[in-house]
């Protein structure tokens, strides 16, 4: 390389030539750097010019044929206060200079030289001539460029170089620090905000709005994996146009339908440029048009939480490495918050369910009488044990006269508050119709008509059994709405009779008919009304208590003289023994009448 600065114009023009050897390129670029630095060109522009010259020289050397290999390459650089011009002349046969070069595929090892020249310089023109070609590259100088007028070019060169370099480093560090500071302060702010009950959606939106500010991006789209379906569903977006339908996470044999899905499946960042390479059907491409950015999968532990896409309008101002790091930090932070919020939500739901059950249990308890009305010559006792998931069992005893009463037992199909509410309504209706109590079938028909609309609306039904007990005539009239049969001892204890009059559960048919069945109440007889929670009770091996066991229990107790209260305790103990501390699946309710 030989250098001949034009002394007459005080280094305004640099001229040098180099051999057709790659080893001479670097010294030439350093010479250019020194020359430009001397003219106060700042660090970033120095790097650009140095690299552009290197690429131009590399090209000239790599395209040289056997003849031109022995000819020297000329370099001229001129620096005015407003512009830098660099000319590289070669003696190759020349090549076609493309107007605008796109970046090659990231995995390509070649093809970035001309892209770099075009990106770093404001203009580049390749003039082809006979035996010599000339690449002219121009770069405008930033207005504050010439801040170091010089008397001593030698020393100043070093000083300016150092200053420019330091300035660049400081700018860079400042940017990095700013990003870190902003992301950390934002995260601290959000951590404290999260303690105040901001919804996860608002929280994410605030966080991502700030992310846009910090990274100078234009838009974001946050999708979360929907719990049930596993789709990627929009959770927050910077603009309404991005509220696109859910994306199923599945890859087609060819390629995924959307870049977001691609990022979710591959679990790595996917970059997009909204031009030729993006599929025309991609939701982001459709919504955003020309923009650049990337999609980051949000992962917590091994679990995919969702994806966040961050983009900028246009193609020429992509996100820097520092900004990408900020996006990653925010995404990690968001993942933790989302997981926390979900755990919190589950906890709240569990509390709500517990509260719901508590209310239902209170309603159910309020339906049961503290003391049962008694009938001369008869004993009466009731038992109701609620399952953890309270159902709609209840019993009632309504005194009609000194010698008659109505026994009611019912099971509302369903759980929780709705079942308890229907039990309360049903109980009130029966109590409001004492005139019909002597004909339980008519009472059931009436209650069915009154409740039908409400019950069928919520797909619930009630099984019930009524027994009108007349102590004067010692007889009983029973009617049933799809309820399990009542058991009565007959023939002075030796036999157990089931009373099971025809009838559909309440809430099935609007005009359902019911039948009455009359039975004498013999000396020492016992009557048992119960719900299917008894016969369907299970032991540790999963075996049912069953009707037979219940019948057998009654048979064994037919000749002992225990009161209804004692019998109730005995049956409750029998059930408890059978279930051996197992949690109840269903309410267990029964009424015992003993003569």
């Amino acid at each position: 390389m030989s250098e001949s600065p034009d002394k007459s114009t005080r280094c305004i023009t640099l001229r040098l030539t180099l051999n057709c050897d790659l080893a001479e390129v670097r010294p030439a670029t350093l010479a250019l750097r020194g020359f430009l630095a001397e003219h106060g060109v700042p660090g970033e522009e120095l790097v650009a010019c140095e690299l552009a010259l290197a690429e131009a020289c590399n090209n000239a050397i790599n395209h040289a044929d056997d003849t031109s290999r022995h000819m020297r390459i000329g370099v001229e650089a001129a620096c005015s206060p407003t512009e830098i011009e660099i000319r590289v002349s070669d003696h190759t046969s020349g090549f076609d200079w493309p107007d605008r070069v796109e970046l090659p595929d990231p995995t390509c090892e070649r093809g970035r030289g001309v892209f770099l020249i075009q990106s770093l310089m404001n203009s580049s023109t390749y003039l082809r001539g006979r035996g010599e070609n000339c690449l002219v590259m121009r770069k405008s100088r930033s207005p504050h460029g010439d801040r170091f007028p010089s008397d001593d070019p030698l020393n100043l060169e070093d000083v300016t170089l150092k200053l420019a370099e330091n300035e660049r480093i400081i700018t860079d560090m400042a940017e990095e620090l700013c990003s870190c500071y902003e992301s950390f302060s934002a995260i601290f702010r959000y951590s404290s905000e999260q303690k105040r009950a901001v919804g996860l959606e608002d929280f994410s939106r605030q966080l991502l709005d700030d992310l846009l500010q910090i990274t100078a991006a234009d838009w974001y789209l946050l999708r979360l994996v929907a719990p049930g379906t596993g789709d990627l569903r929009v959770f927050a977006a910077s603009e309404p146009g991005l509220l696109t339908p859910p994306l199923p996470i599945s890859s087609s044999p060819t390629r995924p339908v959307a870049w977001e899905v691609d990022a979710a499946i591959k679990r790595r960042d996917i970059w997009f440029e909204h031009k030729g390479s993006i599929s025309a059907t991609d939701p982001l491409a459709v919504a955003k048009g020309v923009s650049t950015g990337f999609i980051h999968p949000i992962i917590f532990g091994e679990t995919l939480i969702g994806t966040v896409a961050v983009g900028k309008a246009g193609l020429h101002n992509p996100l820097t490495a520092a900004k990408i790091n900020v996006v990653h930090t925010f995404a990690d932070f968001l993942a933790i918050q989302i997981v926390n919020a979900r755990i919190q939500e589950e906890r709240v739901n569990a509390l709500l369910v517990a509260r719901d059950l508590e209310i239902a249990r209170n309603i159910q308890r309020s339906l049961l009488l503290k003391t049962l009305p008694q009938l001369p010559g008869f004993g009466l006792a009731g038992h109701c044990e609620s399952a953890r998931q309270v159902g709609g069992d209840f019993y009632d005893v309504i005194k009609l006269s000194d010698t008659s009463l109505l026994l009611v037992i019912a099971d509302v199909m369903g759980k929780g508050i709705p079942a308890a509410m229907f039990a309360a309504i049903m109980r009130s209706l029966v109590r409001a119709l004492p005139d019909l109590a002597r004909h339980p079938s008519e009472l059931l028909a009436r209650v069915n008509r009154l409740l039908f609309d409400e019950l069928s609306e919520v797909d619930m039904f009630i099984t019930a059994q009524l027994a009108f007990v007349d102590a004067e005539e010692n007889r009983l009239v029973a009617a049933s709405a799809g309820h399990c049969p009542m058991l009565i001892t007959a023939g002075y204890g030796s036999q157990i009779k089931m009373i099971s009059p025809e009838g559909m559960p309440l809430g099935i048919l609007p005009d359902a008919g019911f039948g009455d069945e009359a039975t004498p109440l013999e000396e020492s007889c016992r009557l048992l009304l119960y719900t299917d929670g008894l016969t369907e009770a299970r032991d540790v091996h999963g075996e049912l208590f069953g009707q037979e066991r219940l019948v057998e229990w009654m048979r064994q107790r037919s000749d002992d003289q225990r009161t209804a209260g004692k019998l109730k305790e005995d049956l409750a103990a029998e059930l408890a023994r059978f279930q051996a501390n197992m949690a109840l699946n269903d309410d267990q309710t029964f009424l015992i009448l003993a003569r």
Partner: protein, 119 residues
Amino acid sequence: MVAPDGFAQQDRLAVLKRSMNISIHGDTLSIEGVKELSAANASAFRDEVRTAMREPLRNIEIDLSQALFLDSCGLGVLVALHKTACNRNGLVRLINPAPAVRQILELTRMHRIFEVVKL
């Protein structure tokens, strides 16, 4: 400077080897002291690193804190090494790239395929 090319190539390798420091940490090959990656030394650098990448090494870590210059040939060689690492399910990590170099990595979007780390 008008040395025969064969000699120049050897010379460059010698210079490269003098400044570069290659070490092994677990399954990672670490390279420090890279001053520049340009058309003049890039392929020598690539060959040097590939020779050192013996099984079962998977990852390549290149400290670029002292690298003042990176051109398209240097980028090409980083891509080539990226492929070498990928073939072994590893990755190329670029440590503390100097600002000028980082700027070029970003301009050519190469920071997306390498892990660029600030320590």
